[in-house]
């Protein structure tokens, strides 16, 4: 349900902007006329639908990413990336990101507490809250930059950029289940893609209408 916290504000923002005549290009079907200060503002179906579906999509993306982060065994992920022969720097980037999330959370917490200890007010309005957020982000960014330098030094002194083939300690093999899963995923993705292009609120569909005049 915390997802709703992300999705609902987005909807609140997106629906009025897209469904009112503010320049959303695919607006065609007027479904209602709003009476504001004597102005009859048209409300468009297309904009309404977009404003409703896009925040949901963002919600889906976030929850999928979270699901991935929480359920994937990191060693297995790294071993698999190795198997795909991706450049090591890229693999390190992925792995370090996953590893650093908990560290970052700790860091944020301690910075926040430090700011509280120095008299940061939390019982404030939304504008001041945004300002508070900035007070958190700036030290976090600075301290992260410092840490990056130290980590680079540490990695370098442990042979990170040695020009040799790296050894992977974990072996990973694709099992029948994995192949099956991949095939199903590919099939479902293709089918959904097909539906999206032919039926859904795809920009492509409307492009066709637009081109036809």
């Amino acid at each position: 349900m915390p997802l709703m916290l992300v999705v609902l504000p987005w909807m609140a923002l997106a629906i009025p902007i897209l469904s009112l005549p503010l320049g959303f290009p695919w607006n065609q079907t007027v479904i209602y006329r709003l009476d504001i200060l004597g102005l009859k503002l048209p409300v468009y179906l297309e904009g309404l639908a977009w404003g409703f579906t896009w925040p949901l999509r963002i919600g889906v993306t976030i929850s999928a990413a979270l699901l991935f982060y929480l359920t994937t065994q990191q060693t297995a992920l790294i071993a698999m990336l190795f198997k795909f022969r991706l450049p090591f720097r890229f693999i390190y980037m992925v792995a370090a990101t996953l590893q650093l999330i908990p560290l970052m959370v700790d860091e944020v917490r301690s910075i926040y507490q430090a700011q509280l200890a120095r008299g940061l007010r939390t019982d404030v309005g939304i504008v001041k809250k945004l300002w508070n957020f900035l007070l958190l982000v700036v030290p976090l960014t600075l301290s992260s930059l410092g840490k990056v330098q130290t980590r680079a030094v540490a990695l370098e002194s442990r042979g990170f950029s040695a020009p040799v083939a790296k050894t992977v300690l974990y072996d990973i093999r694709f099992k029948t289940v994995d192949y099956l899963f991949f095939t199903c995923m590919a099939a479902v993705t293709l089918y959904l893609g097909y539906l999206y292009i032919t039926e859904g609120y795809s920009p492509l569909v409307h492009l066709r209408y637009l081109l036809a005049g």
Binding site: Q99, T150, R151, V153, S157, F160, L169
Partner: protein, 292 residues
């Protein structure tokens, strides 16, 4: 010709300027004999960390800057070899345990094997050396834990293990105890003592002079990038006034002996540098005093 098998570290007239900070090190020359422990002491900003980084080639390969002089590590000129090549000769342990973790390892075991797998060692060798390194720092039983869940002292011992796994000829530690609580400090220094007994060569830059005094053979006192005193630890540490004027606190027992000597007009031929030595010295003095 220098005898590199006897002196794994030879520093000759080494001067260095960071790109943003000139003359951090000035004309340093010293040697470290195989199997001995060298302590580098000095106030903050004296160049302790810089000389540590110079020993494994991070200075100047990573930091840039201007260099004069030479450093030979196990016979290799640090200016001509990459940090990766030197990483099997010199193991560098940093001040903060957390930031030197690779960020890639999920378990303690992975963390130790990271360096070896970076250098492409075969799997069997890696596993064997990892076990060996774990054993040496006393972290057996924690193999499967996350490095970030360990206590400070354990993390620092893990950091030592990560470089031990590379079987370096020299272990260089840059203030390994600065961020640790007393228990962590004791753990780390005990590991160093054990390693030394097994014949390792160790260079430690440290503020914890009391601990350092108990196991280093030689010491170098750095101030503003210059060596202002060097020699057998005991001789360096007895220069109480010089130490204090350069911003380093001598071991409290040494300082006490110095003050007692001055206050009582005695002439001590030997200053204590550990508590045990101090106890026996003062007992002796008291007995003498009783007789007089």
């Amino acid at each position: 010709m220098l005898d590199f098998s006897r002196y794994p570290i030879v520093v000759e007239g080494f001067s260095y300027s960071y790109p943003s900070k000139p003359n951090v090190l000035n004309e340093l020359s010293f040697r470290v004999e195989r199997g001995e422990a060298l302590g580098i002491i000095g106030p903050n900003g004296a160049g302790k960390s810089t000389i540590c980084r110079a020993l494994n080639g991070l200075v100047p390969h990573f930091y840039g800057g201007r260099v004069r002089g030479r450093i030979y590590v196990a016979g290799m000129d640090t200016l001509k070899h990459t940090v990766a090549e030197l990483s099997t000769k010199v193991g560098l342990v940093f001040q903060e345990p957390e930031t030197q973790l690779s960020g890639l390892a999920i378990t303690v075991e992975d963390e130790i094997s990271f360096g070896l797998s970076m250098l492409g060692y075969p799997k069997e060798v890696i596993l064997e050396r990892t076990r060996e390194a774990l054993e040496k720092v006393g972290l057996r039983g924690l193999e499967k834990r996350s490095p970030f869940e360990l206590s400070g002292g354990q993390q620092q011992r893990l950091a030592i293990a990560t470089v031990l796994a590379m079987r370096p000829e020299v272990l260089v530690l840059d203030e390994p105890a600065a961020q640790l609580d007393p228990i962590g400090k004791t753990q780390v220094f005990n590991v160093l003592r054990d390693l030394l007994r097994d014949g390792a060569t160790i260079v430690v830059a440290e503020h914890e002079i009391e601990e350092l005094a108990t196991f280093t053979d030689h010491m170098i006192l750095l101030d503003k990038g210059r060596i202002i005193s060097a020699g057998v630890s005991r001789d360096v540490l007895r220069q109480v006034e010089l130490l204090k004027s350069s911003g380093v606190d001598p071991p409290s027992v040494t300082e006490l002996a110095y003050l007692v000597e001055n206050a009582c007009g005695l002439n001590l031929d030997r200053y204590p540098i550990t508590i045990d030595e101090a106890v026996s010295l003062f007992l002796e003095l008291l007995e003498d005093g009783g007789r007089v």
